[in-house]
């Protein structure tokens, strides 16, 4: 079943991709290939394959349980929030927070995850910023502190 859903998705994706490709007409440029042929070819390559996938014979596949889905969605949202707040709260606090949530998903005691998170965040920050001379945001909390 899941293969059918994927096939429909890929079919729509390839169609949209091909239609969009049609718009890429070069202006006053004599190039034998142009900008649209290659993406069109990719779309035409995918359309029949998606159809075969739709009509083909399928194994049922192992789909994750509802509990697994919840865990993965939580893990995913944590990373999305991480990307959104890293600039304001800084690398160290954001990283520690990820360790706490992930640690608790694994059933670790919160204080163990906290300690692991703080140590890991400081080690990674020192590695990237102090040893490798790259930039990571410190966050307003620490900036005021120092």
């Amino acid at each position: 079943m899941s293969d059918r859903i994927v096939a429909v998705f890929l079919l729509l994706l390839a169609a949209a991709f091909g239609i969009q490709a049609w718009a890429y007409v070069p202006i006053g440029f004599t190039d034998h290939l142009g900008a649209r042929v290659f993406p069109l070819a990719v779309a035409l390559f995918m359309l029949p394959l998606a159809l075969v996938l739709f009509f083909g014979r399928h194994s049922a596949g192992v789909w994750p349980s509802v509990r697994a889905w919840r865990v993965v969605l939580l893990a995913l949202s944590v990373l999305v929030v991480y990307a959104l707040v890293i600039e304001s709260v800084g690398f160290i606090i954001a990283t520690t927070a990820v360790f706490i949530v992930y640690g608790m998903l694994y059933g670790a005691r919160w204080w163990k995850a906290l300690i692991a998170g703080v140590i890991a965040a400081i080690v990674l920050y020192s590695l990237f910023v102090l040893a490798l001379d790259m930039y990571l945001p410190l966050g307003s909390f620490f900036e005021e502190l120092f």
């Binding site: 070069p26 190039d31 789909w63 893990a75 490798l132």
Partner: protein, 503 residues
């Protein structure tokens, strides 16, 4: 003895202290990376790419480092395979057949020792092969025009799709997804921005480090976290990590044979270490297993696949360096890094960057030797890494990835994109789509379009140029064979399935 002379110069380059340090770091990091669940060489290298770029590391050192991680990880992988029976990559599955039974019957030490020795033999044979074959192939590859390149890339896609997953069609669709991603950005031929939807950050195309880390490392984080129960107890008491002379002698010819098999298969695009290790195992079983002890802890059954998969890993560098066309996910990532540095691997690479090529080869000799002398005494120390609890390891993988990408680009958009690709990778794994073709197509897509464009401008727009030379026709033949064989296999399976359903 031209090759010999060049190799000596390569040694002179590789024995510089900084390069020795880089080899050491590469193989050590590779061993640890290969051992841990969820990282693997492709992630290790992808995470290091933004860091090496930001630091402006010398390209030779970078290539040495990545190659070291690549073959070091192959060995590290066998450690966890033997001890835990959890092959980190498919290329170690054959090792588990005899390696884990040996560990269970208290012979983990000899199993690990022969694995180190076999990896060394395999790696060394392959380096010798690389030394002789690469210049020959490069000379021959000069005859490749743009049309030939176009079809060669097509062949690489069909091969990898045919061999990387259970279903050929899903490999091809994954290739298509990668090609779609590759067209994002300003078209090199016409200057038209494609699929950027007005976002300036997409004009340069997708950063392949972001895509690779997202697809592989972040999706792996989701996979690991989904199964929150941890692996069984790890027994890190190994006993003496040594083999007897008798055991060594019994494995010797098997290791040599397997190394040759592994190297030759590794050179083929798409085939790689997995097939090499199984072929070597099956060959040894047929040739030497008179008492039927393979599969129940026979040391020769560990030596053969270990020698083969290490040889295949080095062999896989050949198409990447001499043709500029990688045959696997990891070599595609290395190629992507080289292209970003404006070094174009291909037939002229060995001529133009001969010093770099031979230094790499020499560093691989040295690296294989280091792995051997490090691992025999220190493997007991390395396995302690397996004791790191999952609740630390898993967020650590994620945070190293996010830290490396943000530190290199200071871009929130990149972090978001990487998370998105993490989800895509997770969904693809759940629906049995292979990931390596996506990366291969992402790296080779622009090259494919450029070859087509050049071929057409040389022929003044005549598409017949794609079928004009005997060489290009031969390549088409290869494409056809690599596409037909898996199709016939699928049809046969479907027929069998129908028969069994009727009866």
């Amino acid at each position: 003895m031209d090759a010999f002379h060049s190799l000596m110069q390569g040694f002179a380059g590789a024995l510089v202290p900084i390069n020795l340090l880089v080899v050491f770091l590469g193989v050590t990091a590779g061993t640890v990376i290969g051992m841990l669940p969820g990282i693997g060489p492709i992630n290790g290298i992808a995470i290091l790419i933004p860091i090496t770029f930001a630091l402006g590391i010398d390209p030779t050192a970078m290539l040495i480092l990545f190659a070291g991680i690549y073959y070091g990880a192959q060995y590290g992988n066998s450690i966890s395979t033997i001890l835990l029976n959890v092959p980190g990559t498919p290329s170690s599955v054959a090792t588990a057949l005899d390696g884990h039974p040996m560990a269970k019957s208290g012979r983990a030490g000899p199993a690990l020792a022969i694995s180190a020795i076999a990896s060394f033999v395999g790696g060394t044979v392959a380096v010798i092969g690389l030394m002789f074959l690469a210049p020959v192939l490069a000379k021959w590859a000069i005859r490749f025009g743009p049309a030939e390149y176009f079809v060669l890339i097509l062949f690489t896609f069909t091969m990898l799709s045919a061999l990387s997953g259970k279903q050929f069609i899903k490999g091809l669709l994954a290739t298509g997804i990668g090609l779609m991603l590759a067209t994002i950005g300003i078209d090199g031929g016409t200057g038209i921005p494609r699929y950027t939807f007005g976002h300036l950050s997409f004009y340069d195309g997708l950063d392949f480090a972001v895509v690779t880390i997202g697809l592989f490392a972040i999706s792996e984080v989701f996979l690991l976290i989904e199964q929150t129960q941890t692996a069984g107890e790890v027994n890190t008491k190994l006993g003496r990590v040594m083999v007897t002379v008798k055991e060594f002698v019994s494995c010797w010819w098997g290791m040599i044979r397997s190394a040759v098999i592994g190297f030759l298969i590794g050179v083929l695009p798409g085939a790689g270490a997995t097939i090499a290790s199984f072929m070597a195992y099956a060959t040894e079983q047929r040739l030497t297993d008179k008492k039927g002890t393979f599969g129940s802890g026979d040391i020769r059954g560990v030596a053969a696949p270990e020698s083969a998969n290490n040889a295949a890993v080095s062999g896989a560098l050949i198409p990447m360096l001499t043709l500029g066309v990688p045959g696997s996910g990891t070599t595609a990532v290395i190629l992507g890094a080289l292209l970003a540095l404006n070094l174009n691997p291909g037939p002229l690479f060995i001529v133009q960057h001969g010093d770099m090529f031979w230094t790499l080869i020499a560093s691989m000799y040295i690296g294989n030797f280091m792995l051997l002398v490090l691992n025999l005494p220190l493997v007991g120390l390395f396995v302690k890494v397996l004791l790191v609890p999952r609740y630390i390891l898993v967020p650590m993988v994620a945070m190293i990835s996010y830290g490396a990408i943000y530190a290199a680009s200071s871009s929130m958009t990149d972090l978001m994109l990487m998370t998105g690709f993490g989800l895509l990778g997770y969904l693809m794994r759940k629906t049995d789509f292979p990931l390596a073709p996506v990366i291969l197509a992402l790296v080779l897509g622009p090259m494919m379009e450029t070859s087509l464009r050049r071929a057409l401008s040389l022929s003044n727009g005549d598409w017949g140029v794609l079928f004009a030379s005997p060489l290009v026709l031969a390549l088409w033949g290869l494409v056809a064979v690599s596409a037909l064989v898996p199709m016939i296999r699928t049809l046969r399976r479907a027929r069998k399935y129908n028969d069994s359903e009727q009866h």
